[in-house]
């Protein structure tokens, strides 16, 4: 492997080279937090504008992904949580979905999956913010407990307990849920 020092690289180029590999995951996390594509894009944009002046610091960060995730979460908490937004958008427009594997799902199976995912998303939204954040980071986005500990400086024991409580609550919500209409969007927060 050849070591290369390339001089004359602009700050813009350097910034984009460092951050671009993490954009997709940042957007995904933003989407999980905000529940809307436009809001997720805006949140990621806000993060990019916030961190650009910290380019030198970014260059020195060994594992940039978790650091960016933390900045995104702080940005969400500080600037977005206070906004009157619905956190969840249920699956109504199947054409927009990218992650459902059409090849293994027949029409009936796909409908069942959509109903289940709507229930799950709705239940997730009923958790308190701390629980929801933890479940999104760990169970939905696959961050390890160690990574979450590094991000938020919460002991792993505490994280485990909180995660257990969150899942117990989630399971209760799912069990108690009334039969659900798949096409129904829960936008009650928006219409209030």
């Amino acid at each position: 492997m050849i070591n290369i020092w390339k001089f004359g690289v602009s700050d813009h180029e350097q910034f984009e080279k460092l951050v671009q590999p993490h954009i997709k995951r940042l957007y995904t996390l933003a989407y999980r937090f905000t529940g809307q594509r436009d809001d997720a894009e805006d949140l990621v944009q806000d993060v990019l504008l916030k961190i650009y002046p910290r380019l030198e610091e970014i260059q020195s960060i060994e594992r940039l992904g978790p650091w960016l995730a933390r900045v995104l979460y702080r940005q969400f908490v500080d600037k977005w949580r206070s906004k009157d937004r619905s956190i969840v958008q249920l699956v109504a427009d199947e054409a927009e979905l990218e992650s459902v594997d059409d090849e293994v799902q027949g029409p009936a199976g796909k409908l069942d999956l959509t109903i289940l995912q709507n229930k799950l998303q709705y239940s997730l939204n009923q958790l308190n913010e701390e629980q929801r954040h933890l479940v999104i980071m760990h169970d939905v986005e696959g961050y390890t407990l160690q990574e979450i500990h590094n991000l938020h400086d919460i002991s792993i024991g505490t994280l485990k307990s909180r995660l257990n409580r969150a899942r117990t609550r989630l399971r209760e919500l799912l069990k108690n849920m009334e039969p659900f209409e798949s096409a129904k969007r829960v936008n009650s927060n928006r219409t209030k």
Binding site: I2, G8, S10, E16, R37, Q45, L49, S99, Q117, L120
Partner: protein, 228 residues
Amino acid sequence: MNCKETENNFDSYLDGDLLFNEQKSMDLHLSSCESCVQQLEEINNLRKALSLLPIIEPVSSFEEKAFEVVRKQYPLQGSYRFTIGFASALVASFAIWFFSSLFFVQINGQQPQMINLAMNQIHTVRLMLDAPTDIGQVTLSLGLSDNIRLKGYEAKQQLVWKTSLNKGSNILSLPVTAVTKGQGDLIAQVHYGNRVKKFRIVFKTVNNSLRDGAFNSQINNLHSSYRI
């Protein structure tokens, strides 16, 4: 292991992160506790379902637009840096081909290489430092004569940074410009341990009118290779 301890280790168990003894102890508990088995199965199913929650992808131009907004918000003000990277296999083979076909190896202390530069034009000079082994703590310094400028560092005639060298090829890609006529030079120094290696390239500025024709092909890729 009791039920409480088992519950606390569900995630580690599912992730395969338990130590051998912990795993064994948990398996033992699960073999006799139907309640914990049921909980574990529910959690496993829940985790799987959560990991499959769909997402609506961003618009296709999102990344490009997002970086464009950053560029507009923070216009460049002559701020450049140098970046360290590692060549891919393709680039590496390309570079090696270049070195073998266009470059010559200059041993420390021998006659410096002479390179012609057209005035006020950026020419990328690539220096290859050929290290016999990995060298962890290295201080690299570049010194430029007054009539030579390095793109992005126009106000500096001296650059010093700490780094490491890989065994084999280490490339410095330097966009340089001659700003006044005459001879100039670039001196690269490599400090490691108690040793210092010093390399010198001499630049000779030439009229821009010589850019055309055969000379043009000579100034596009100017490279030198040095053995550490």
